[in-house]
């Protein structure tokens, strides 16, 4: 058996009508031409600033903040200039002001509703993970093929897949965390997209096909570990 470009017989790799696959690095920002990596680091900076606020620190230099975030000072300054000028030369940055600027730009100052699909081991863990709500996201509902199998009492309502579209519309959800088994991932993703979801955080180790206007971010735990294992060998 031989596989070449046009082939569509492999489960999960079919070319879906109307859906195009976009390599991570080519995804357009949509809003402006700020580098993807800068955006990612802004979240990092914000987190550090929040720690500073908690500790009652009012001013911070690019040197100190960069060190806290694990980047070089020049990079921090360059990153910030994509958004404007916020520092005072000779002094540094005002912690609260800078934090506000970043969270305004990241748009996560308001609570964003999110749904989670696939309440297996990983899904359950993510549901109980406090990290999300702390950063302004609320998982408003979870879905599972067999909702009855989820016996633990969780704070989040667990629905069957048939309720997916309805809940997405009612709650005006735009983001979904996908932790279903690989085989099901593309099918579920298609449903999500049809129902109006425009951002998917995908934990299934498959390449999802999606139209241009839908953003898919992949988290592949096995690859992270494999990658680590490569770099520790010398």
């Amino acid at each position: 058996m031989r596989l070449s470009s046009g082939w569509t017989g492999m489960p999960g790799l079919e070319k879906l009508p109307g859906l195009r696959q976009i390599p991570d690095d080519l995804k357009k920002n949509g809003r402006s031409d700020i580098p993807r990596k800068t955006i990612y680091r802004m979240s990092l900076y914000l987190r550090c600033l929040q720690r500073l606020i908690q500790n009652g620190i009012q001013t911070v230099s690019s040197d100190a903040l960069a060190q806290a975030a694990g980047v070089k000072p020049t990079q921090l300054r360059k990153d910030l200039t994509y958004f404007g000028q916020f520092g005072r030369r000779g002094l540094g940055y005002e912690v609260e002001q800078l934090a506000k600027m970043i969270s305004d730009h990241l748009g996560s100052s308001s609570l964003q509703p999110v749904i989670l699909i696939g309440v297996g081991n990983l899904g359950r863990a993510l549901l109980t993970y406090r990290g999300f709500e702390k950063e302004g996201f609320e998982i408003v509902a979870a879905f599972d093929e067999r909702p009855e199998r989820v016996r633990d009492e969780l704070k989040v309502p667990i629905y069957g897949m048939k309720d997916l579209s309805r809940v997405i519309e009612e709650e005006e959800v735009r983001m979904a965390i996908l932790c279903v088994p690989s085989q099901a991932a593309q099918l579920v993703a298609n449903n999500l997209i049809e129902s109006g979801i425009t951002g998917i955080l995908n934990f299934a180790p498959v390449v999802l096909m999606a139209p241009d206007e839908v953003i898919v971010n992949n988290v592949n735990l096995a690859i992270e570990l494999e990658n680590l294992s490569y770099f520790i060998q010398d």
Copy 2:
């Protein structure tokens, strides 16, 4: 209160003696000058090739494989040339041979022992997650501050923190998955490093300090979601 470069009073941000913090992108490959991103994609290719093997496919073109992996064909070919020449012009690549080459290079053909520290929600989920063992990693032990609180019967032995060094040495473990609370992360990381761990997959949302020879890969779930939320706004 004001924070500038030399300051060491912030919890978690202290400059630790002998430990230096290395930005992700500057980490040396250690072995050769193959781009980091190429290494990452090799894992992706390997996964696709394994699917092809399962489906009994013997030959694949760079076009088809690239599509399956979500990258451009030229990029796939360029990536492969870092390791040598494996294709036959006009024909494509031999699936099994290519898979073997990649897994040899990634060094994950043999089962690597891994430990997990912090058996909270996330830790428990990762323990039951099949994805790791499927890719050649075996979680040989887990550790928790209070091992007795873990009541679920898991296949992996749960130890207290006092047994950390002993088990690492006995089992010759070099990689650790860290899912303890943020406040504890640096302290535990120090212990790990002292006991001989050289690779840490860190789920705590803090920047860990580590000596040059230790590789830290960070997975920050909240940032992934925040990042997604930025890009879906338009």
